[in-house]
Amino acid sequence: MSRLLEILFGRLPIGWLQLTHSRTRFAAALAGVAFANVLVFVQLGIMNSMATATLRPYSFLNADIMISASDSNALSEGGNVARQWMLQAMAHPDVTAGMGLFLANVNWQRGATTLGLTTFGIDPAQPGFLSPDIAAKIGPLQIQMAGLLDRLSRGLPREEAAGIRPQSPLSFETSGKTLTLYDTFAGGGGFGGDGYMMVSDQTFLALLPARQSAAPDHILLKLRPGADPETVSTELRALVSDKTLRIRSFVQAGKDDLSYQQTRRPTGVIFGFGVIIGVLVGIVIVYQVLSTDVADHMREYATFKAMGYGQGFFLGIVLEEALILGLFGFIPGALVATGLLTLMGKLTTLPLAMTPGMIVIVFVGTLVFSMVSGAIATRRLAGADPADLF
């Protein structure tokens, strides 16, 4: 290593030799940087999985515009929208179809455990509003009290999910009613529920007698090919009489939901804050290690100054040390974080995983922030006065 650095710098790798001179101190410094990396990775992983989980239900649907109540910040939050606004919106020449979307949580009591299923009530006569793979399976939903189950639901044995087929349906009781599952689709547990379920709007209303056919949770619209959802949304805001409604393109609705989860929901804010704390911990650790190291070598630096070494040389040493700490702290940090995220993903069935994007961002960030701390630590170099040596 020392040889390699010597060739790289064209000088003795003093930073490396200095850092590794005390093994235990070096190990402690690396552990500190690795710890900061793990913190950042885990928080980023959770934020990433939050994004995946938030946007997942949107991927089940296929719409251009979504009309929601004024207080609807997320798909499963907020009041209802009267169906009459759908009829008004459909008067717009570019709107070709509309569907009411119902949403509720349905519990499936399975012995000791309860599966909380986020349940979508959709119109089985309009498969165009569903993603192609789900649309292909909604035939059985025409039957009353039929459902499609998320086969990746948390707490559902995979073999059991695999057994649910149109020819071998599975029934369960909920709120005193019997629901029969005819097929499955791929979803996954999120922060709000253990999995998803698709039923027809009729079944939905039968399951939840308090809900009314005239008041779905959201209204989805499809546009004529080539029409711009943003433009039409703007025009619809003028057209629809209820000015409190949120009329947005479907894509925008997903984005708003995500930014709401990440910046206004306490969990999202906490994880975002965690990333900042991780970065700060890293900066403080690297600064502490390097400034102590500079302080411990004042006499040596003063001697080098007397010998004719310039400011650039000392900056080089400290930045070399910063890079070494960043690089060698990152590697174990990334390894531990990968293991930790995988384990957490297994335990929670949240989509937690190390992604190449995270690796690149955290790697570059670690090097940059290490250099910043190193640069701050070099301020102490000014204290090395060669005149004091004699």
């Binding site: 000088r11 030799l17 006499r299 040596e300 001697t303 007397a306 010998m307 070494y309 040596l389 004699f390």
Partner: protein, 231 residues
């Protein structure tokens, strides 16, 4: 030897420490010229200004009043960059060895060469090996300072000062940490360098044995040169 050829010259050099009430003059009108290749010894009681003079000669301190001409360059009012460049042509030997604890003897000596820019590694190591050999450290080249005796460390520091063929060597009590024999060897080595390469040495010492080997002995007292003895 022409006076202009002198690598070190001072004229009416004054120096003060502190400010206000505490301001205290450490050097008074010091004027001297030191010949190339000579070994000059500075003597005088403690506090007489020997170290102050040495740091001024070696561009380690800013010249406040008067003139110091080092290797043809006026130091009074000089840019810091000139000081850095000139120091690369000097060899400093401090009372304490000031070796870098995480570098081996060889690596410490190499630092004395590397300051002059990129040197071919093999050439540099040959020069460092030679310098360490001259100081009797051939078998200690890969030792860290922690594994060397006090005298060995001081000799490594001397090798570091000499490896780059300095024009001027400035030494402050360099033999204090050495035993009688190696002390004499070091002074002998500096004398031979003076004859062979024209290396000029100015050395502060209390060691009376060295006085006999010096070309010139300057005596300082209370910041003034009170004796100048050519030998």
């Amino acid at each position: 030897m022409a006076l202009d050829d002198a690598p070190l010259r001072t004229s009416e050099l004054n120096h003060w420490f502190g400010a206000g009430e505490a301001r205290k003059q450490a050097l008074f009108d010091v004027s001297l010229s030191i010949a190339r290749g000579s070994l000059t010894v500075l003597v005088g009681p403690s506090g007489s200004g020997k170290t102050t003079l040495l740091t001024l000669l070696g561009c380690l301190r800013e010249v406040q009043d008067g003139s110091v001409v080092l290797l043809g360059h006026e130091l009074h009012g000089a840019r810091p960059a000139l000081g850095v460049a000139l120091r690369r042509r000097l060899g400093f030997i401090f009372q304490a060895h000031n070796l870098h604890e995480s570098l081996t003897a060889m690596q410490n000596v190499l630092m004395g060469l590397q300051v002059k820019g990129r040197v071919d590694k093999a050439t540099a190591e040959r020069a460092a090996t030679h310098a360490l050999g001259l100081l009797g450290l051939s078998d200690r080249m890969d030792y860290l300072p922690a594994n060397l005796s006090g005298g060995q460390k001081q000799r490594v520091a001397i090798a570091r000062a000499l490896v780059g063929n300095p024009d001027v060597v400035l030494a402050d009590e360099p033999t204090a940490a050495l035993d009688r024999e190696s002390g004499a060897n070091v002074v002998d080595l500096l004398k031979r360098l003076g004859e062979a390469r024209g290396t000029t040495t100015v050395m502060v010492t209390h060691d009376t044995r060295i006085l006999d080997l010096a070309d010139r002995v300057l005596t300082l007292e209370d910041g003034c040169i009170v004796g100048d003895q050519q030998r």
